[in-house]
């Protein structure tokens, strides 16, 4: 029974066992309820209007449409839905592609039920920790864009992460708390979604220049 204040969660996972276990774990929380658990993106998209999930836990490797393509469609159809990627390890290029497609963060599959739920909460509140590799990809992605949507601070943080600095070092160097740093990362994740638009602007500007 879903309570009205619980966040509506949809699980997209092709492995039925994991899907069921994720459903049980999420449903065990007071803050989340699984509105549906499906085995493919196609099913998820078809049920989107009916179930209206607020959060989608999305596996990347899926039969048929993969998680990244699914994320893009879901975000198009339901922009306010937060999509969280579930991945075996977090610094994969697929994760970055998913972030670009509109995912709000990612969690690893190794998380136990406590970690999973706290991660869900944290992601809803802020971003997932960013690996150096993802940071470097983000920088590369925005670097080509003269009209980068990133703020100066966000760019600094990204730069430091890509250089291999730890959150401790970042907070020391920028005189901010680790939490603040993480908030910046959440913003960075969300800004990744405007990437395609800004690229179009950049291209237009560039052509105008020509």
């Amino acid at each position: 029974m879903a309570l009205p204040f619980k966040k509506r969660v949809m699980i997209v996972e092709d492995d039925q066992e994991i899907r069921n276990s994720f459903s049980l774990i999420v449903n065990s929380s007071q803050k989340f309820t699984v509105v549906n658990a499906v085995g493919s993106c196609e099913d998820a998209i078809s049920l989107l209007n009916r179930d209206k999930p607020e959060i989608v836990l999305m596996d990347i490797e899926l039969p048929g449409m993969n998680g990244i393509q699914g994320t893009k469609i879901i975000k198009d159809k339901s922009p306010h839905t937060d999509i969280i990627m579930v991945t075996v390890y977090e610094d994969s290029e697929l994760v970055f592609e998913a972030l670009k497609a509109g995912a709000s963060g990612y969690i690893t599959k190794s998380a136990n039920y406590m970690e999973l739920l706290s991660a869900l909460e944290e992601i809803v509140k802020g971003g997932a920790p960013m690996s150096s590799r993802i940071a470097r990809m983000v920088i590369d992605n925005f670097h080509v864009n003269p009209n980068s949507p990133l703020t100066k601070r966000e760019t600094e943080i990204l730069q430091l992460i890509s250089e291999g600095k730890t959150y401790t070092q970042i907070s020391e160097e920028l005189f901010i708390s680790k939490e603040t740093a993480k908030t910046h990362i959440k913003n960075i994740y969300s800004k990744l979604q405007v990437n395609s638009k800004s690229e179009a602007i950049a291209k237009a500007n560039l052509e105008k220049l020509i």
Binding site: D15, E17, S21, I25, S28, D91, G164, T168
Partner: protein
Amino acid sequence: MTRVAFLVLAISLSSTILRAQDHFYSTRSYTVKNGLPQSQVSSLLEDKNGYLWVGTHGGGIARFDGRDFKVYTTLDGLLNNQIAGIQMDRHDNLWILHFRGLTKFDGRTFKKFEAPQNSPATKQMWKMYEVGDTLFVLSVRNRVTKIHNDSVYYWEKNIEKECRRVHIGPKGEVCFYLTDSTFMITRADRTIAFKPDIKLNGVYNFFNYKDEILFRNKDGVFRLDTDNRRVVKKPWSTDNFVVYYDEKDEMFWTANSKGLIKENFTSNKVKADTILRETEVSEVLRDSEGNIWIATNGDGLYKYFVQDFRCVTPENLRGVMAFERDVDNTLWVGTMYKGLWRLKDGKAHSYFQEMKEKDGGRNSINCIRVSPQGELWVGTAYGLGRYNRATDSFQWYMPDDGLAGATVSCIEFDEGGMWLGTNNGLTFFDGQTFKNYTQKDGLNENRILSLHYSTSLKRLFVGTATMINAFQDGKFNNVHVSELANTAVLTMRTYKNSALLIATTGNGVVIFDPKTSKRKQITTREGLASDFIYFAGVDEKDYLWIGSEKGINKILLDDNWEIVENLHFNDDNGLTGVETNQNAFYLGAKEKYFGLVDGLYEYNHAKDENLTPFTLHLSDVQILYGEYSSREYSDSTFGFFRIPYRPHLPPDRNHITFDFNRVDKRYSKSVKYKYLLDNFDAKWSQPSSVSSVTYSNLPPGDYAFRVMVTDNKGSWSQSKIEYPFTIRTPFYKTTSFVAGMFILVGGIVTLIFYLRVKQRIDRAMVMERIRQREQEAVRKEIARDFHDEMGNQLTRIINYVSLLKLNGSVYSNGNGHAKNGSHDLYTKVEDSAKYLYAGTRDFIWSIDPMNDELSKLFLYVRDFGEKLFEEKGINFRAFNEVKEPIKLPYGFCRQANLIFKEAMTNAFKYSQAKNVSLTLKRGDNESFDLSLEDDGVGFYTGDIQKMNGLQNIRERADRISAVLRIHSEKNVGTKIILNFKLTKSFKYGVAF
């Protein structure tokens, strides 16, 4: 050279050649038998090289070099074979006048100038002369032709006054006598014309006398006085027509109805010799060598010249075998069958009849000698005669009187008496008794051919048919001279004190010094006329006179017995009989006599003039016997024969014939040549009279062809040829080409080698890339499979445990702990699964080839540390000082990652540190240091052996050939440093 044109002058008499009063003068005839193209000779000219050009009335023109006539006719390029005159212009072109035109010959080519057929005056041209650079030709009927620079300005231009006579004066001026009695004298700078103030009855002929121009008419001889423009009558002694005045001999060559006469009437004593009779003389020319050449119309060409020899005996005195000059200047001549003759005061007396009764044996004279005591001895085929001057009779000695043999072949005297060579041994006669020596006494043979007593060696040399015996102190010894092998010794004389000059029958002349054994052989190879020598004597100037069947050689040797002069005399020089004899020569200081088969000859001592010989010159340079022109390969030519100057011949034009010559119209047969081709011949050729040589297949290079020639004294002349030429190197043999080819071939070989190596490298690189790609593909596939399978399975386990824990928590006390303790077990399963999950993740990460890079390793380790240390609030810092990408070998990442995970886990669990730092920087010697440092409690490093974890990381470090250093200090901290060196790998079989 002086030239006199002699108008047609018929002299009718016999054609007998008379012997002049001056006995050494002689006349020689050249007819068609000798190579003259025709017996009607019209004109003569001697050119700078000495060639005599002979124009004929139908046989063309001939060039005579003393030996042969080279004939040019219309086939060679002449306009016409009828020659009216010859003229050499100042550019060495020969102009040949025909009756209807001219031919110019430049030594190589003929150029014709033919008078127009329809010319108004078609009559013949008869006179050519040169004024300045212009050539004029006179035709009959007052026509003149002018040629300048090879252009005909006019043909047969009419001139107002008819020209009767034309004459070239002693200074080259042209003198005309015109029909109105005007004389016109033209020089290059001016022309004088005047009419004489006296009445002249025509002009018969002009001639030059010293530097005057004289002419004759029926009133006498007149002189042209051009300065005063008048003619002056000159007193004159002869009525004959003067053909030519020989200024050198002060002789007038004149002609009358009786013949061609040589006259000298300038001195008080008038002297006249008739040279030719019944001969039509057209021109007389004295050449530079003193020969007078007489062109006749019908009898060919005559040479009138001073001879080197004259015959002094009557025609019936023939076969001169022996000669001696008596103390009272009586000449004794012994003949082969005509007995002994005595010549005294121009009278010849024969003893033939007196000796006839002895079967003619005593009329066969072998030798005549006058003893040191003045007694005349005669050796005959039948006894030895001793002449009694008082009774003009002979006392005869025969074998019965003590002679070894009846035939006495030679007589010699020593201090003690007389030696006689006979047909049966050697006889010594001391005036009283005879003593004989034969083979029994040591002679090698009884037939003695020659004897010679050397006063310096006090030794008698006895020549036989096979060798020389030396007699001294009563003993005979053989003289061993290898050059004398198997030849008879006909004469021996002493040469320069002690050497023997030996005449051999077949081996030439041998000079042998018994004291020093020095020897020298002179044969035809050294320039003798023959190797069959009848006599060899030495005169007062050490000249060797060597007689053979081919005449006489007069040779001078230097101190090393090398020939420096060699003149050959034969019938060309007056020795009509040519063949000499053994004992018939006399070499006095003032008189020299030689007995030949046709009489006794006297040598002309007075003849020795110092005439400059003509120079040696090349007459042609031919390529492949004239198939190609050598002049095409030179920029310029030189000389009359237009010899190409320094030709550069192509490599395939290397068959070259050189023709060279020194004209000698006197001793033509004595001219000898030696040649040498620098850079090809090792030494000079043997002297030879051949004046041509061919070199074939000459290799490329620079050459100089050199020729030496003998002069008119028979010595090697200063006149030499040095003719440089070059055979070009074919392009494929040039140094630059060879070097270029070498470089090219070297380059190609290097290129081929390079390309092969590059191909191998490329192939190896392609293989390596394929291998790497395959490896990477495999690694990626493994990684993906692990990701999918392992990841999902582990996720399931963790989720199951989570669910179990969730279910368990229903019964728990609310804080997550199961009552029965099974919750701890769940946690352990979960931790193990997580550990396995993490390990799998590390493995998957490290197996991905994308991560084989140092900075990625660093970030990976850092990310691990970041998460780990955050759990306990430990401040973790990471420092990377290596910015550039460094490729890592496969497997390195995994080991290094595990080392640092172990180290970080240890620090996390046991160090109680507040700060941990990870640092990557460069170490010594291109190595790298990856280190982890904490400020924890530290540990005793001596216990490392006991700590499994640290032992593991040591082993891992060893696997990747890295050095692991651990520093730990109690309450200060621990530092673990991994030092590793990424050495260059050896790939593709080539070191990089």
